[in-house]
């Protein structure tokens, strides 16, 4: 018991003595951990958006003209056997053209110049649970992208099929955006965490410097290194954890005041929920502990010698 009393008394004294510097370390830890948490939430938000964009998609299988009923039945049956396919819908020329006219209703000139019945192909619209499953459809129909004369074109082995809508580019783009966004936010978080480590380490070092006489006496009377270091380690831990507590509070603040005010303005846009914020708190606390441990190791390296 006497031991814990000693550690906490020394830690509290250290924080008091080092007030301003400790405050600087805490605020940096707070900002760093806040950005770290924010990066995790942004990544989560992006994951939700991606899921909406890529979930429940419709893949178009365009058919070659002229189309006969036998081909449609055969292909429908064929596609329904592919894994991940929910249902297959046949769109003939008439239905496709109606949609076409609807889409370009405000461009009458364009509509007049295009003979819809000739240009728009009939298609089978396949509902998929995941957009990545479109590869299975291209595979099932034996389609592959070939390059001829600098232009990419799709060729399908399955008779009656002209092409399958290619989602590869969309997926690649989404992936690229996700990667760039996550990496840059993560990089900022890492830089901030590094500076938090530096500042906490510096606080500890200043604390040790202010108490070098005390530490010298402790050595002389036979205090072990751990006896000397633990109050400083706790000090660093307290600074990092106070920063983490504020970071978590502010993340909830961001969620309540900014994210929740967006709710309803864009119904199609999925937003992070409280559970998402709760899910990142262990990671923030872990990061805080890592900051404290590394800062402690760096800050006390020079004081390791007996």
């Amino acid at each position: 018991m006497a031991r814990f009393e000693y550690f906490f008394r020394e830690t509290a004294a250290g924080l008091r003595r080092n007030g301003v510097v400790a405050f600087a370390a805490m605020s940096t830890a707070f900002i760093a951990l806040f950005l770290f948490g924010l990066s995790l939430l942004i990544a989560r938000e992006f994951e939700l958006v991606t899921r909406v964009l890529t979930g429940n998609v419709e893949v178009q299988v365009y058919l070659s003209d002229p189309v006969n009923d036998g081909t449609v039945t055969r292909l429908t049956e064929r596609l329904q056997q592919v894994r991940g396919v929910a249902n297959v819908d046949y769109w003939d020329k008439k239905r496709s053209c109606e949609q076409f006219r609807e889409l370009f209703a405000n461009q009458p000139v364009f509509l007049e110049n295009v003979n819809c019945m000739e240009v728009i192909p009939t298609s089978l619209r396949v509902n998929l649970s995941e957009v990545t499953d479109f590869r299975q459809i291209t595979a099932a129909l034996g389609c592959q992208t070939v390059e001829s004369g600098g232009q990419e074109r799709q060729e399908c082995a399955e008779p009656g099929v002209r092409s399958v809508a290619d989602y590869q580019k969309l997926l690649d783009r989404l992936n690229a955006i996700t990667t760039v966004l996550s990496l840059s936010v993560f990089a900022i978080a890492v830089i901030m965490l590094a500076s938090a480590i530096g500042l906490v380490a510096n606080t500890l070092r200043m604390g040790m410097f202010a108490r070098r006489k005390e530490i010298g006496i402790m050595r002389l009377v036979g205090a072990t290194n751990w006896r000397i270091r633990v109050p400083f380690l706790i000090e660093g831990m307290v600074e990092a954890l106070v920063g983490a507590a504020f970071a978590i509070a502010f993340l909830f603040g961001v969620k309540v005041f900014f994210v929740d005010s967006l709710r309803g303005t864009a119904p199609w846009l999925p937003l992070i929920r409280n559970t998402d914020v709760v899910a990142v708190t262990p990671l923030i606390l872990l990061a805080a502990a890592v900051v404290a441990v590394i800062a402690g190791t760096i800050g006390m390296r020079r004081f390791l010698d007996v």
Binding site: A2, G216, I217, M218, R219, V221, G222, A223, N225
Partner: protein
């Protein structure tokens, strides 16, 4: 209790502080280490505390070869060796009681042990009525008594004193020497580095004289020069 065998200490800047020094000090002895500044007295004290490592030769304290004591074990070695310095090394923001208690606290002694032993030892050094005085409220001699109390509270086998009377007037110095003698009489081995001639001559104890890092005289019941 203390044994230096062919000890040489060369500092990193090339200064040879001790050269082939061999000294044996038995349990319960009182030894003066004398010599001019730079003769190696303080280096000898630092070697005995393992604050420095001997370049060559072996140093034994309380039966342990210091070169074989891992840095992990050094604190435990130091609990057997009390130290007193010219500048007292007291913490200014702690009272006499707290300064002595600090030495027990940092080695993890229980509060009831501290509450019992600290007044006891302060009484022993003659400061029974000044437990709650801060260092700046005490005279130099009284501050040195506090530091002796701190060095002895853990009942060390050896007491190392580096110029303990260096900042004190002759009368106060005599009082401090009486106290060190008292500590010696209860069985503590005392090694005191000094260049206070009057004290050495008055005490008539064993004298080891160093000059330029070499032992030039080792005399029981000796005088300063």
């Amino acid at each position: 209790m203390i044994s230096l065998q062919h000890v040489t200490k060369v500092y990193r800047n090339g200064v040879t502080a001790l050269e082939d020094v061999s000294v044996e000090i038995d349990k319960g002895e009182f030894v003066f280490v004398v010599g001019p500044s730079g003769s190696g007295k303080s280096t000898m004290i630092r070697l005995l505390l393992k604050q420095e490592e001997a370049t060559n030769g072996d140093v034994y304290v309380a039966g342990k070869n210091l070169s074989k004591v891992t840095s992990f074990k050094v604190p435990h070695l130091r609990r057997n060796v009390g130290t007193v310095f010219q500048d007292y090394k007291l913490l200014q923001d702690k009272t006499a009681f707290e300064n002595v208690a600090f030495a027990l606290e940092v080695i993890g002694k229980a509060k009831h042990v501290i509450d019992q032993r600290v007044p006891e030892i302060l009484e022993y050094v003659g400061l029974g009525d000044k437990l709650n005085a801060f260092p700046d409220e005490l005279s130099g001699g009284e501050q040195q008594r506090v530091s002796i109390a701190r060095a002895c509270v853990n009942r060390p086998l050896v007491l190392l004193a580096d110029e303990p009377t260096g900042n004190l007037d002759p009368n106060t110095s005599v009082d401090i020497m009486r106290l060190l003698d008292k500590v010696n009489r209860i069985g503590t081995t005392v090694v005191m580095a000094t260049h206070d001639q009057a004290i050495v001559d008055a005490m008539r104890k064993r004298v080891i004289e160093l000059d330029k890092g070499k032992v030039v005289r080792d005399q029981s019941r000796g005088v300063y020069s």
